[in-house]
Amino acid sequence: MNSLGQSLVFYLRHSDEMNRLYWHPRVQDRSPDLTGLEGDQAELVEMLKAVGDAASRESARFLSDWGSRIEQYLGTIARNERVRTKGPPKDWGIRFRIWTRDGASNRFDVGLYVHSALAQAIGWIYCRKGLEAEVETLDALGRGPDAPWRPSSEVNEDQGVVLFARVDLLPKTTSELDHDRDPLVAKAAAPILSWTERQIVALTTLSRRR
């Protein structure tokens, strides 16, 4: 079993607190405000940083596993390139840009991010902005009773974004900190692994429609 990571599971279980005491101070380049928190403050600061940093690494490893899996498959039906992000957010989200194999410039983006407040990995696809684009994307992907595709409103995403995976990352029992990463990666990648080259063409076409 490849573990998702104890620190990441801990982070997701206490996301309101970890975001407030680790994430926001980190991205705002300031010290955490520990007012109201009981215990040795210096020790708490050290633990928060160690757990937060480890959780970020574990999240990055989970996303990278997912990226390798979809990159390998998409390479057979499309051209794809990883879009690199900078700074702390790079550990919590991964994005690929997809083109058809014929060299046309139209493209769309797919990605996966760890939504700490929901404790879920969320897979998304974006062709262009707007609710109309969402409907067209859903049509291109093929609707069906069991289709995983969902509109942006489900997680307050931006208009135009269509979700293709929402994978719960927390183990079932609240005391567990170990969780097998591989089935989670497989679940988040599965919808993409069913795409056809024809669907890739249809999705890239949507990016230019106005």
Partner: protein, 287 residues
Amino acid sequence: MALDQSFLAGLRCAYASLRPRTGPDFVSALRQAFDSLPGCSGSDLARLGAALSSWRSRTIAEVNKRIKDIPPDDPLYCSISLFATLGYSRLETAHTRALAWLLDPKAEHGFGDALLRRLLVACQQGRNIEGLHVDVVKPERPIEGRRLDVFACGAAEVDGKMTPFVLVIEGKIDAEVGERQLLDYAQWVQENHGDREAILVFLTADGRASEEEDGKWHALSFADLVMILRDGMEELREMQGYHYLRYYLAGVLRDVCRWPIPLDKDKVNPHLLLEYLAKVKRPEKSA
């Protein structure tokens, strides 16, 4: 001319030494080093978990105590988002234009300089501003092919001394900051308003600091902005712009900060909610 064999062997050797050794041994050692990076033991995690859970319980108890002080017309209970009605709920220019209007003492809202004053105080570590003279507040001020989202200049009286200032706000909701954008803006301010105190605010959904600037910008999240503008809002209730401000704050909370507005207190981060509640002026108890 044939090259000397020993020279070629030496060249091969030197070239080989230049390439990084990335054989399986290196990769497995790297993995081992990566896995041994400092983390926390199971007992440390349990201790930290207990501290966080107990803090959360105390926060929730305090929220429950204070929530009854919220007036019914508070933005938390407002179901109207100013820009969602137009389909512009996360449009940066809509937000920054509205913000510029709210900060402008000469605008029709009737708040005078109240909101600008609060923002300046918040960005200057709570220094008390005794007097404020504002020359201009402008949205989308063009500068050399770009636009400053909000630009203001004037003078603030601090400790009995008038200090000229220039305020620039660069807002980002979904987009990333452009290459050198903040550096260029800071340089423009230095070149054109070098004699004034520069207050540069980088306003984003999560309050992140920009990776590409040199520490001159004050990182502010939209949630921080709400806290600043909400503080003492009760005093503005009779003013023309009160409901505009309500809809604006409700929209920022709902559409940018993703709070469940109208408030569902069990679904919002209790620590943030408590911070908000601290800005609510408690009704005075009757004798």
